[in-house]
Each structure stands twice: as C-alpha cells, then as structure tokens.
C-alpha cells in the first residue's frame, strides 16, 4: 500500500509541477517587468551558502532527532520563513538579520555535532526563530518587479528541497559510522557559521 501511495504521490507531484512549470510561456497576463517566475524563485534560496548550509542542517537535525521532528522541522522552517518574508516585504525592520542567519548555521551545526536532543517544541521554536531571519532577508531582497505566485512557489520548493536533502543525508544516522559522519557534517556547518558570523560582524 505504501509503495502504491508513493507512486501516486509522485504522479500527483509531477502533474502539478508540470502545470506550474509550463504555465509561464502560455500565461496571458504577464505584466511588463515581472520576472520569469518559478525558476527565479527557485534560485533565490540557493543563492548564498549561508542559507544553504542552514537549511540543509535543519534536515540533518530533523533526521537525527527522528519522528516527529523529521517532518515537523521541515514544515516549521518554510512556514515561519514565509512569515519573515512577509515582514521583509512589508518593510518591517528586523535587527541584525545577517548575524541571525550566521548564528543559525553556527547553532544548528553545533546541535547536529553534539547530537543535542531538546524537547520537540524547543527544537521547533529554535528553527522557527532562525527561519524568521532567513525569510526576512529574502523578502527584503526581493527585487522590484520580481513578483507573483510562481516566484513564491519556487522559493518555498527550493527551501523544502534543501530540507529534504538534509533529511535524506541524515538517514545515515541509523548506522554508527553514519552518526559520526553526521557529527562531522554538523561541525563543518558550525565552522561555516563562524565564518559567516565574522563576515557579518566585520
């Protein structure tokens, strides 16, 4: 039953994905100045390594913590990130955004490295706070004319894919060598966070 549901989910995803990806060329109401849509949005979260390592480490940490964190954290981050993006789009200021982003990589990497297992709500809250900074940075950086539903979808899908990449890599947690490898990966993410923090403070 699970295998059948998996195939159905894949078909459903491909069908809806095709409808989204194919709509821009035939879309009749493109306003002058609008960007290409889905691909532009998809590229945005992967435009900076500080964003990439933080979002992948959310997936790594979720895989390390196991159910229900393994799916709760990849839900929490995009949703709260969207809240941050909303605030950024509205022009609501958020202090020390770059420092917050760097700290997210540092602390999430450290959490993976030391295999920190806080209560579920605490983990979700921590991820949510960091997501706010990431989202605000993206929302405030949205170029003029860049707009629309497809951009937003591309943005969220890219974020989700990074989380899923982290979760997929994090499944090595089930083996002893995998646990060590994950801790090593967490250390690398944390060091990356330190680097970006020094850049932000400079």
């Amino acid at each position: 039953m699970m295998k059948c549901d998996g195939h159905k989910l894949a078909y459903l995803g491909c069908g809806i994905g095709a409808a989204l990806l194919l709509s821009p060329p035939a879309q009749a109401h493109i306003v002058q100045g609008e960007a290409a849509g889905f691909l532009s949005g998809f590229q945005h979260p992967i435009s900076g390594w500080d964003h990439i390592i933080a979002m992948v480490s959310v997936g790594l940490w979720g895989a390390q913590l196991g159910a229900p964190a393994i799916w709760l954290l990849p839900i929490t981050f995009p949703v709260v990130m969207a809240v941050g993006g909303f605030l950024g789009l509205m022009g609501v200021p958020l202090p020390a955004v770059e420092i917050g982003i760097a700290m997210s990589a540092l602390l999430l990497g450290a959490a993976v490295m030391i295999q920190w297992r806080p209560p579920l709500l605490a983990a979700a809250a921590l991820v949510g706070v960091f997501a706010l900074f990431h989202g605000h940075a993206h929302g405030a950086e949205l170029p003029p004319g860049e707009s629309g539903l497809l951009y937003s979808i591309g943005f969220v899908v890219a974020t989700g894919c990074l989380h899923l990449t982290g979760v997929a890599v994090g499944t090595v947690h089930q083996w002893s060598w995998g646990r060590r490898a994950l801790q090593g990966a967490g250390a690398c993410v944390a060091m990356g966070g330190v680097y970006f923090l020094t850049q932000a403070l400079a």
């Binding site: 159905k8 989204l20 194919l22 035939a26 995009p78 789009l89 022009g91 969220v156 899908v157």
Partner: protein, 208 residues
C-alpha cells in the same frame, strides 16, 4: 484484463503538453487556444496557477476528510465559481492577488493542520474560494457572448480537476502519504503568505 493506470497518466500528460504548446496569442488574463472560447476557458484554468492551486488544495483537503466532503465540494465549488464568474462579468471590477494569496494560505494551512473540519465549514470554504476566484476570472472576460462560453469552460475544468485530484488522493491511506500531503499543504500556505506580502507591497507601494 487489468489496464495499466500509468498508460492513462501518460495520455493525460501528453494531452496537457499539446494543449500548452499549442496556445497562440494572448489577451489580457486569457489564453487563446484557437479551439474556441469554451476551450480557451478550459485552458485558462489549467494554465493559471492562481486558480489551479487552490482547487488542487481543496481537492486534497476534501480527500483527506473523506468521500462525503468530496461529493459536496465537487458540485459546490464549480457552481460557486460559475456564480462568482457571472457576477464578476457583470460588475467588471477587479481585485488583485490579495485574494489568491489568501486562498492559498487558508487552504494550505488547513491541509497542513489536517483539521477535522465539519462538513458545513468545508463546503462554506469551498464556496467562498470558488466564488472569489470565479469573480476574478469573470471580471477579466470579454463583454460579448464569448465571455459566457469562456466561463463555462473554466467551470468545467474546475469540476474535472477537482474530481481527478480528489479521486487520486482519496485511496491514499498510508501514514507517509498523509504526511507528505500535509507537508505540501504547509508549503502551499507558505507560498500563499509570500504572495500575500508581495500583493500588499505592490498595492500600497511599500518599500522594504
């Protein structure tokens, strides 16, 4: 003899691609297929994510709640869409993407929460979404009789899309499938919130 369901899937996907690639000119907010206004309306719905995604979301929501929900929404959604479309066609006053973003946020959030909605609430939500999006479509239609045919095409597509997606999702009973759908709902809500933010910024000329 058991038919391979993948064969039907490939046929549908190929038909969809042919329809997309054969679209020629463009009017404001409409698609021209060259097959007549009814098919222009059908293609418009299929190629407009602002319309398609809330319907897909409502179909998933109905399927998660059960067949009774599906049966009610299957008819109330296109009916309200057509009604809203007629009102929009008569009034011709457009909203902006605020409503589309709000729909996606609401529907995506309900899917993510897997909320045990009472039947009347689910039907009311489908009716409101259908009426609102139908109004937006209707407001953009040409003033002549072709506008009615376009609207009928859109309504038919709404019915077909809802039925197909709900039928596809309804048999999914595994926990993993349900979880995947809820995650997708959360992503839809997130995209809707971003779209809402962009729409507000554009409408009120805010600067980041």
């Amino acid at each position: 003899m058991k038919r391979d369901p993948r064969g039907g899937m490939w046929t549908s996907a190929s038909s969809f691609l042919i329809l997309v690639l054969s679209a020629r000119g463009a009017q404001a907010h409409l698609v021209t297929t060259g097959l007549g206004p009814f098919y222009d309306g059908a293609a418009h719905f299929a190629l407009t994510p602002e319309d398609f995604l809330p319907v897909a979301g409502l179909a998933v929501l109905a399927a998660l709640r059960g067949p009774t929900y599906g049966r009610w929404m299957l008819f109330t959604l296109p009916a309200s869409w057509l009604s809203g479309g007629v009102v929009g066609w008569l009034m011709r006053r457009d909203f902006n993407d605020l409503f589309s973003g709000t729909c996606m946020l609401l529907v995506g959030g309900l899917i993510a929460a897997d909320a045990p909605l009472p039947l009347w609430a689910g039907t009311a939500i489908a009716t409101s979404v259908g009426a609102g999006l139908g109004y937006l479509d209707g407001a953009a239609l040409p003033r002549d009789e072709t506008g009615v045919l376009v609207l009928l095409g859109i309504g038919t597509s709404v019915f077909a899309a809802f039925a197909l997606i709900a039928a596809f999702v309804l048999p999914m009973r595994s926990r993993l499938a349900r979880l995947a759908l809820r995650v997708s709902g959360s992503w839809m809500a997130a995209a809707g919130l971003l779209l809402l933010g962009w729409s507000i910024r554009t409408s009120f000329h805010l600067t980041a």
